[in-house]
C-alpha cells in the first residue's frame, strides 16, 4: 500500500503538496497545542523507556549494570520456546483467554441492554450500583468465597460447599470434587471473571446507549415497534461502534490472563491446566528477577497482540465498521 502511494506522488505534485501542508499546519495550530500534553506524555513515559525491550537480548539482572550485561542474542527466546512446558502454557493461555472472549465479552453488552430496559429510574440506578460492586471486591476475597462454595467435606459426616452438595445430589455421585478436577479450573476462572467484571463492563456500553438519539425511539414507537424490536433495531446498532472498538482493543490482550487470580486458585492437581504465560513469567521473571527472560516473553506476547489487533481492525473495516485506525 505504501509503495503505490509513493509512486503516485510525482515530482510536480510535491511542491503543491508542500504548500498545502504548510497551510494545513497553520490552520490546525490550536489542534497541535491540544495534542501537546498527551504527546509529551507518550514520549517521556512510553517511548523513552522503550530501550527496556533490549533487555530481552541480554543476560540482565536488576542491579547489574545494563551496559555490562552480556548480549546473548535470542537465547532468552530460545529458552522460552524450547521450554518443555511451552506448549502446555500456550494451550492453557489460549483456552483461558478464548473462553473469556467467547463467553465473557458479550455479557456486559447484554446486561447493559437489559438494564436500559428498566424504566423505573430509581430501580435502574440501584441495580446499576449493585452490579458494579463485585469489581471492588479484592481477588483474595473472591477466592475464599469460591472455596466456600466449592469445598468438599473433610470427612464423611460433614457437608461441603453449596455447589458441591448440589452437584452431588444432581449427579448422584458422592465423590464429586470440583476443585480436584483439573480442567474444571477453566470454568472456575471464567465464572469468577464473569461475576467480578460483568457489571463493571456495562458502564462503557451504558454511556454509549445514553448517547442514542431519543427521536429514533419515538419514531419507532409511532411505527408500532415492540420494546424488543426497538432494542434489536435501534439500540444495538447504535452502540455497534463501541462494541467493535472494545473488541479490537480486547484482541490486543489475547495472551494476557493475569497472574493474581490464577495463582490464588492454583493447587497441585490443577497446575498443569492453570499454568499460563503470565503466571510462569510472574514466578520466573518477577519473583526471581530474571528480567531478560520475562522481557523476551513480553516481547513475544506484544508481537502476537499487534498481529491480533491488526487482523481484527482489518476485519472490522471489511465488515463496514470504522475500525480503530
Amino acid at each position: 500500500m505504501a509503495k503505490t502511494q509513493k509512486a503516485a506522488l510525482s515530482a510536480q505534485d510535491k511542491a503543491a503538496a508542500k504548500a498545502k501542508t504548510w497551510t494545513k499546519l497553520k490552520r490546525d495550530k490550536w489542534m497541535y497545542l491540544l495534542l501537546l500534553p498527551g504527546t509529551l506524555y507518550f514520549i517521556i513515559f512510553k517511548i523513552i523507556p522503550m530501550w527496556g525491550v533490549l533487555i530481552a537480548f541480554k543476560d540482565y539482572f536488576a542491579g547489574v549494570s545494563f551496559l555490562k550485561a552480556p548480549w546473548i542474542g535470542f537465547d532468552n527466546f530460545i529458552d522460552f520456546f524450547s521450554d518443555v512446558s511451552f506448549w502446555q502454557l500456550l494451550r492453557n493461555t489460549l483456552i483461558i483467554s478464548l473462553m473469556n472472549l467467547i463467553f465473557f465479552f458479550p455479557l456486559p453488552i447484554i446486561l447493559a441492554l437489559l438494564l436500559n430496559e428498566i424504566r423505573v429510574q430509581w430501580y435502574k440506578k440501584a441495580l446499576q450500583t449493585l452490579v458494579y460492586v463485585p469489581h471492588f471486591v479484592s481477588m483474595v476475597v473472591v477466592t475464599s468465597i469460591t472455596f466456600m462454595l466449592l469445598k468438599t467435606p473433610a470427612m464423611e459426616s460433614a457437608t461441603g460447599g453449596i455447589i458441591t452438595e448440589l452437584a452431588r445430589k444432581l449427579t448422584g455421585n458422592p465423590d464429586v470434587n470440583i476443585l480436584a478436577n483439573g480442567p474444571a479450573i477453566y470454568w472456575i476462572l471464567l465464572l469468577q471473571s464473569i461475576w467480578k467484571e460483568t457489571g463493571w463492563g456495562t458502564i462503557i456500553f451504558l454511556a454509549a446507549i445514553a448517547g442514542v438519539d431519543v427521536e429514533q425511539y419515538e419514531a419507532a414507537i409511532v411505527d408500532g415497534a415492540s420494546r424488543f424490536q426497538q432494542l434489536i433495531y435501534i439500540t444495538f446498532p447504535a452502540i455497534m461502534g463501541t462494541i467493535v472498538t472494545m473488541f479490537i482493543l480486547r484482541m490486543g490482550s489475547v495472551l494476557d490472563t493475569g497472574f493474581e487470580q490464577i495463582i490464588l486458585m492454583q493447587n497441585a492437581i490443577n497446575r498443569e491446566y492453570s499454568e499460563t504465560f503470565d503466571t510462569y513469567v510472574y514466578q520466573y521473571g518477577r519473583v526471581e528477577g530474571n528480567y531478560g527472560y520475562s522481557t523476551a516473553v513480553g516481547l513475544f506476547k506484544s508481537i502476537i497482540s499487534i498481529i491480533c489487533i491488526q487482523t481484527a481492525n482489518r476485519a472490522a473495516k471489511k465488515a463496514g465498521q470504522t475500525g480503530l485506525f
Binding site: 500500500m1 505504501a2 514520549i43 517511548i47 523513552i48 523507556p49 522503550m50 530501550w51 525491550v53 533490549l54 539482572f61 536488576a62 542491579g63 547489574v64 549494570s65 545494563f66 551496559l67 555490562k68 518443555v84 512446558s85 475464599s144 472455596f147 469445598k151 468438599t152 467435606p153 473433610a154 470427612m155 464423611e156 459426616s157 460433614a158 461441603g160 470434587n177 476443585l179 480436584a180 492454583q266 493447587n267 497441585a268 492437581i269 497446575r271 498443569e272 499454568e275 510462569y280 514466578q283 520466573y284 518477577r286 519473583v287 526471581e288 528477577g289 530474571n290 528480567y291
Partner: protein, 637 residues
C-alpha cells in the same frame, strides 16, 4: 504503514541511547555514606500496620547508643519500610534503578541476588566476620565481637560459591512441631482406646502417632457419640511440604537432600525408600479418612479451621501454631486443651530426628555502590556489630525497659502488667524457675514506638529475656524449640546453588509436589508416581543432581552423617542430655569442656572490657545485667 513502524522503532532506539546515559547518571542518586555525620539508610520489610517512627524514643535511643560507641557526634537511621508481601519487588526495583541503601535486607535468595553477589555488588564479608585486630594491650581480639558469634553452619547456608555476602538474621532452628488436642488424648486413654496418655506425647513413636490419628477418627475422642472427628489436617493445595517433610524426616529420609550410601552421592529426599514408605503410609491414612478427605484442594490459609471446629486433632507445622490455635479455640470450646510436641521417633530405641529450619530469615547485605571503600564497609560492619549488643537488640525487640508495678487479671484469665515509667515499653519479671521474661506494655501507642524494629535485629547474642506468655502451651512451645535443636537434621545441599535448579525450580518443584499430592490423595498409583519422578529427572532433575554433587565433592566443609552426629551430640552434652551419647563421646566432650575455659580465656578478657564500657554508658541497671550475662557467655563455649 510499514515505514511508520520503522520510524517508531528508530525513534525508540534513539531515545534508548539517550536514556541509557540518563540511566547511568541515575545511579549517582545513591548516597555514599558520610562517616563523619552518618545518615544510614536501611531497607526493611514491615509486618505491622504501623511501623516504628524514626523520630520515636526507641530509634533515638538506639541512635544515641550507636553514635556514642562509634565515636561520632550524631548518627541517624533512615528506615525505608516496605510491605512484606511486596518486599521482593521493591528490592528488585531499587537495585534496577540503582537506588542503593546502605544496608538492605534480602529475604529471598533469588537469581538476581546470586548474580549481584557474583558481580561484586555486595561486599564479600567472608574474611571480615571473624577478623581479628590487636587492641591497645597488644592482645588479639575480634574486630567485631558480636559478628564473630555468627554460626558457621548458617553462614555456610547463606554463602554463594563459598563466599559470605551478608549478615543473617538468626531464627529459631527447632521450630517444627505438632499441635494436638490434649484433652482428646486423655479421653481416649481413659477409655482404653489409646495405649498412652498426654504425658507420653513428648516421646512417641511413629506407630503410636499413627495409633493416635486413628483413634482420633474411630474412637470418638470428643465423647459426643458421633463419628464427627478425624486425625490430622493436611493442606495439600499449597503446602503439603509442611507435614510431609516432617513425617519423612522422622521416618529416616533426608531433609530435602541427603547422602545415599548405595549411590555414593547426595540425592533429593524422594529418591530414598524411607520417603516412599512414608508417603505410602500417608496414602493409607488419606484412604482411611484419617487425613482430611479434601486434602488435595485444602489451602493452608484455612489450616486452623478444622482444628478450631474440633473436627481434627492434629496439625504438623511450626510449633508456635499451637499458641495461636490455643488462643482462638478458647472462644469456641472452653474445654479444649491444646498441647504441642516436636517429633515422633521411628522406633523407641532410636535417637530422634527433627526437621530444622534454615536457621535464618533473610540476611543484610552491604551494597558496594553506597559503601564504596573498605573504610565504609568496616564502618558499617562496626555499626552492625553494635546493633547486636544485647542492649540494642533488647531495644529492637522490646523497646525501653521499665519496672512492673501492677498486675491486671483479664476476663479470660490472662494477665497484663502495667509498666512504670509510662514511657517504658516493657518490664522484666522473674519467673519461678529463675529465668527472666519481658512483659510488654499493654499500651498500644507505646508498642507502636518499636513495632517492626525487630526486623532490624540479628540476634547473634542471646538475650536472657524472653517474651512472657501467660498460657501453658506457649511455654511448651519454647521447650519444643529447645528439644528439637538437639536432634536436628540439616539439609546436605542447603548452601549449593545449582544453575539448572535456579533456572527451572518452578517447574521441577511443581512436578514432584503435584505427583506426591496426587499419590497420597489416591489419584495416581505408585507406578505413575515413579513415572513422574523419572519425568523430573528427564526435565532437569538429573542435571540438578549432578551439579549438586559437584558442589558437594568440592565442599571442604560438607555436611556428613558424622558431622551431624557430632554437632548434635555436642549440643546434647551441653544441655545435659546423655541418653544417646557413647561413653567415648561423653568423655571427649568432657575433655573439651575442661580445656575450654583456658582456650577461651584469651578472647574473654577483651570482650569483657568492651562490655563494661557499655555498662558505663548505659546507666540502666537491667542493661548492665545483660552485659554481664553476655560477658560470661564466651567462657561457656
Amino acid at each position: 504503514m510499514k515505514h511508520i513502524w520503522k520510524r517508531i522503532v528508530s525513534v525508540a532506539m534513539a531515545g534508548a541511547m539517550g536514556i541509557m546515559a540518563m540511566g547511568l547518571t541515575a545511579c549517582s542518586d545513591t548516597v555514599i555514606l558520610d562517616m563523619e555525620n552518618p545518615v544510614i539508610t536501611v531497607m526493611l520489610p514491615t509486618f505491622q500496620t504501623v511501623s516504628a517512627d524514626e523520630e520515636g524514643p526507641v530509634v533515638e535511643e538506639i541512635e544515641r547508643y550507636v553514635a556514642e560507641k562509634m565515636g561520632v557526634p550524631n548518627l541517624e537511621f533512615e528506615l525505608k519500610w516496605a510491605a512484606n508481601s511486596n518486599y521482593g519487588e521493591k528490592v528488585t526495583a531499587a537495585m534496577g534503578a540503582g537506588n542503593w541503601p546502605h544496608v538492605m535486607l534480602i529475604t529471598e535468595r533469588t537469581s538476581t541476588i546470586i548474580q549481584n553477589s557474583r558481580a561484586g555488588n555486595f561486599w564479600d564479608l567472608t574474611d571480615e566476620l571473624k577478623a581479628t585486630t590487636t587492641d591497645e594491650n597488644g592482645e588479639t581480639v575480634y574486630k567485631y565481637p558480636n559478628l564473630a558469634e555468627t554460626d558457621d553452619m548458617i553462614n555456610h547456608n547463606i554463602s554463594v560459591d563459598g563466599r559470605i555476602y551478608g549478615l543473617y538474621r538468626a531464627r529459631e532452628i527447632g521450630r517444627a512441631g505438632v499441635t494436638v488436642r490434649d484433652d482428646w488424648i486423655d479421653n481416649l486413654h481413659a477409655k482404653g482406646a489409646l495405649s498412652f496418655g498426654s504425658d507420653h506425647i513428648n516421646d512417641i513413636t511413629l506407630d503410636e502417632f499413627e495409633e493416635m490419628l486413628y483413634a482420633f477418627k474411630d474412637d470418638d475422642p470428643d465423647g459426643d457419640g458421633q463419628n464427627n472427628t478425624y486425625g490430622m489436617v493436611v493442606a495439600g493445595a499449597d503446602y503439603i511440604a509442611g507435614p510431609l517433610n516432617n513425617l519423612v524426616v522422622w521416618n529416616g529420609a533426608p531433609n530435602a537432600w541427603g547422602y545415599s550410601e548405595e549411590e555414593g552421592k547426595i540425592l533429593p529426599d524422594y529418591m530414598f525408600p524411607e520417603y516412599e514408605e512414608m508417603i505410602t503410609r500417608m496414602r493409607k491414612w488419606k484412604a482411611d479418612g484419617v487425613i482430611n478427605r479434601d486434602m488435595d484442594t485444602f489451602s493452608s490459609t484455612n489450616w486452623d479451621n478444622p482444628f478450631l471446629q474440633s473436627q481434627a486433632g492434629a496439625i504438623i507445622d511450626v510449633a508456635d501454631r499451637a499458641r495461636r490455635v490455643a488462643n482462638n479455640i478458647k472462644d469456641l470450646n472452653p474445654n479444649a486443651v491444646v498441647d504441642v510436641f516436636g517429633f515422633a521417633r521411628k522406633s523407641a530405641d532410636q535417637e530422634p530426628v527433627t526437621l530444622p529450619t534454615t536457621g535464618y530469615s533473610g540476611y543484610f547485605v552491604l551494597p558496594v555502590a553506597s559503601l564504596p571503600t573498605e573504610a565504609h564497609r568496616d564502618f558499617m560492619l562496626k555499626v552492625m556489630d553494635i546493633l547486636n549488643d544485647t542492649y540494642v537488640s533488647d531495644l529492637l525487640n522490646y523497646g525501653i525497659v521499665g519496672t512492673a508495678y501492677e498486675e491486671v487479671k483479664n476476663a479470660d484469665g490472662s494477665t497484663d502488667i502495667k509498666v512504670d515509667p509510662p514511657t517504658a515499653h516493657y518490664a522484666i519479671i522473674e519467673n519461678p524457675d529463675g529465668t527472666k521474661s519481658a512483659i510488654k506494655s499493654t499500651d498500644q501507642a507505646r508498642v507502636n514506638e518499636y513495632n517492626d524494629l525487630n526486623q532490624f535485629g540479628m540476634g547473634y547474642v542471646t538475650s536472657e529475656i524472653t517474651t512472657y506468655y501467660s498460657t501453658q502451651v506457649a511455654k511448651t512451645v519454647n521447650d519444643v524449640y529447645q528439644t528439637n535443636k538437639l536432634y536436628k537434621l540439616p539439609n546436605y545441599a542447603e548452601a549449593y546453588i545449582s544453575p539448572t535448579y535456579s533456572r527451572h525450580s518452578t517447574q521441577l518443584d511443581a512436578i514432584m509436589s503435584s505427583a506426591t499430592t496426587k499419590y497420597i490423595s489416591g489419584a495416581i498409583d505408585l507406578d505413575a508416581w515413579y513415572a513422574e519422578r523419572d519425568r523430573w529427572l528427564d526435565q532437569g532433575g538429573q542435571k540438578v543432581i549432578d551439579e549438586m554433587n559437584e558442589f558437594y565433592e568440592a565442599d571442604t566443609d560438607k555436611v556428613t552423617a558424622e558431622s551431624i552426629r557430632k554437632d548434635n551430640h555436642k549440643v546434647q552434652f551441653e544441655e545435659g542430655v546423655m541418653q544417646w551419647l557413647t561413653p567415648e563421646e561423653a568423655a571427649e566432650f568432657q575433655r573439651e569442656a575442661d580445656l575450654g575455659p583456658e582456650a577461651a580465656a584469651e578472647t574473654e578478657a577483651p570482650a569483657e572490657e568492651v562490655l563494661e564500657g557499655a555498662a558505663e554508658t548505659v546507666e540502666d541497671a537491667a542493661a548492665a545485667a545483660d552485659a554481664k550475662a553476655q560477658a560470661e557467655k564466651p567462657s561457656m563455649n
